[in-house]
């Protein structure tokens, strides 16, 4: 009996130790990189970094103001386009999407979800940048919105589906028309989840800004901000 208890303790200690060491290894690289960044880069972080524009390579000084403003404008515009479309599509799929059209929308959203962002970048370049004749923030925003919509549609659908069916029936039995049930009762109940998925969507496209190299870039050095970044 006693031997068994000792054995358990030893195994427990060993496993805990092993997990601890592995966890340490896993975060070690991150900590090193982050540490290096703070130690070496911290000294260059000052107010100017945020409010000044970059200077040509080789010179010292300057900042990334145009990049920050540009990101804000492009992501903001993309949200303006993408959020209503994505959330609306998700609500449609969850509430009315049982038919053939729903199947098609779902299929298209899934395909778009799996499309590499560079493909969307090329699409925006072909249909917006080329006809307009120049790179623009609008083209970038549209590209990002396209990335955002399918993901938002599917996550919103999931969130809305979590709302119990009994709540829908309660509203309908009270004399709510179908569309008001969807908006006033179901969507409001799922609101927290929809907001979360919207934030995840925004975070994802903000990270996907790289594809803008294809459509909205080249304002980095030669043009002045803030409208330069947006042009």
């Amino acid at each position: 009996m006693n031997a068994r208890r000792v054995r358990r303790r030893v195994v427990n200690g060993m496993m805990t130790g092993l997990v601890g060491v592995l966890s340490f290894l896993a975060v070690l690289a991150l900590v090193l990189i982050l540490g290096n960044l703070v130690v070496k880069g911290g000294s260059s972080l000052d107010w100017n970094f945020f409010v000044k524009n970059p200077v040509p390579a080789g010179e010292s000084g300057g900042g990334v103001a145009n990049a920050i403003v540009g990101t804000g404008i492009i992501v903001g515009l993309a949200c303006l386009i993408g959020l209503p479309v994505g959330i609306g599509a998700g609500l449609y799929l969850a509430e009315f999407g049982s038919g053939r059209l729903g199947w098609i929308v779902r299929f298209v959203a899934d395909v778009l979800n799996g499309t590499p962002s560079i493909v969307v970048g090329i699409f925006a370049w072909t249909w917006l940048v080329k006809p307009m004749g120049h790179f623009s923030a609008l083209a970038g925003s549209v590209a990002l919105a396209i990335l955002m919509v399918p993901m938002l549609a599917r996550t919103t659908e999931e969130m809305v589906r979590l709302v119990p069916h009994s709540l829908r029936e309660a509203a309908l039995a009270l004399g709510y028309p179908r569309w008001r049930t969807s908006l006033r009762i179901v969507a409001r109940t799922a609101l927290a989840g929809i907001v979360t998925s919207s934030l995840v969507g925004v975070a994802r496209i903000a990270g996907g800004l790289v594809l803008l190299l294809a459509v909205a870039a080249r304002s980095a050095i030669r043009q002045g901000p803030p409208h330069g970044a947006a042009r």
Binding site: L167, L174, G175, Y176, P177, I185
Partner: protein, 258 residues
């Protein structure tokens, strides 16, 4: 207790058949609900009694594949007629479900006011009065009058169910459908709801679906027994429970099956 013989017939199902796709779950049922009475619908699980209830306010057709033949007359008019708007109809025929379903994003007050507001009642004083009246009728007013703005989810299960009854009463329906309203409540909550049935029938016609035979005997004036999609027997509650005419009814109420 007994309604006058010439009582205006509030609600009547005439040869009503309810189907899911091609499968009939309620077969050719004709049933009268006299005004200002409580009618209990009893029967074993899956006998179609809930579906039957949902036909009375056109909720059944919202289910996947649900459709209906036959007629349901409310004050003599067929509610399945072409020009009847089901949304308007449901404001005349209120319904309370098995589990309490308060709207989680709304306060106690807003829950009760929801049915009024969707009907276009906007005047705050009117809504205030109607909410208070409904909560009093549902015997919930004294418990919640100091916290009307709090979330409806803060209430206990029994209170939530009475809130749902108040919500159904607020738009002043003519008929109240109760689908096993006490299934998820404790004995005290159950007793409150049953007392409510007695009080409410002076103003409404009530149809209550229940699994609980004692409950049917306690609250109802008439009882209808459903078995395997058919209406087997209907009659005065005290008659049906003491001297049923059908063998299957007797077997069920004496507990030999179901």
């Amino acid at each position: 207790m007994a309604p006058p013989a010439d009582a205006r017939l509030q609600l009547e199902a005439v040869r009503l058949t309810a189907l899911y796709g091609r499968r009939a779950v309620v077969k050719d049922v004709s049933l009268l609900f006299p005004a200002h009475t409580v009618t209990a619908v009893i029967g074993p699980s899956g006998c179609g009694k809930s579906t039957f209830l949902r036909c009375l306010n056109r909720m059944h057709e919202l289910s996947e594949g649900g459709w209906v033949t036959g007629r349901v007359l409310l004050d003599g008019d067929d509610i399945y007629a072409d020009m009847v708007d089901p949304v308007q109809l449901r404001r005349r025929v209120g319904m309370v479900f098995q589990r309490p379903t308060p709207f989680p994003t709304m306060s106690i007050y807003d829950n009760v006011a929801a049915g009024l507001r969707v009907n276009g009642h906007r005047c705050p004083a009117d809504v205030d009065a109607a909410v208070e009246r409904a909560l009093k009728r549902a015997a919930l007013w004294d418990e919640v009058k100091d916290r009307l703005r709090r979330s409806a989810l803060a209430l206990s299960g029994g209170q939530q169910q009475r809130l749902c009854i108040a919500r159904a009463l607020a738009p002043e329906p003519e008929v109240l459908l109760l689908d096993e309203p006490t299934a998820s409540l404790d004995p005290a909550g159950t007793q409150r709801i049953e007392e409510l049935c007695h009080e409410l029938k002076t103003n409404y016609t009530i149809v209550i679906v229940t699994h609980n035979l004692q409950q049917a005997a306690r609250v109802s004036d008439y009882t209808a027994f459903f078995y395997l999609s058919d209406l087997v027997e209907v009659g005065r509650t005290e008659v049906l429970f003491t001297t049923p005419t059908q063998e299957r009814t007797e077997a069920y109420i004496t507990g030999r099956f179901g």
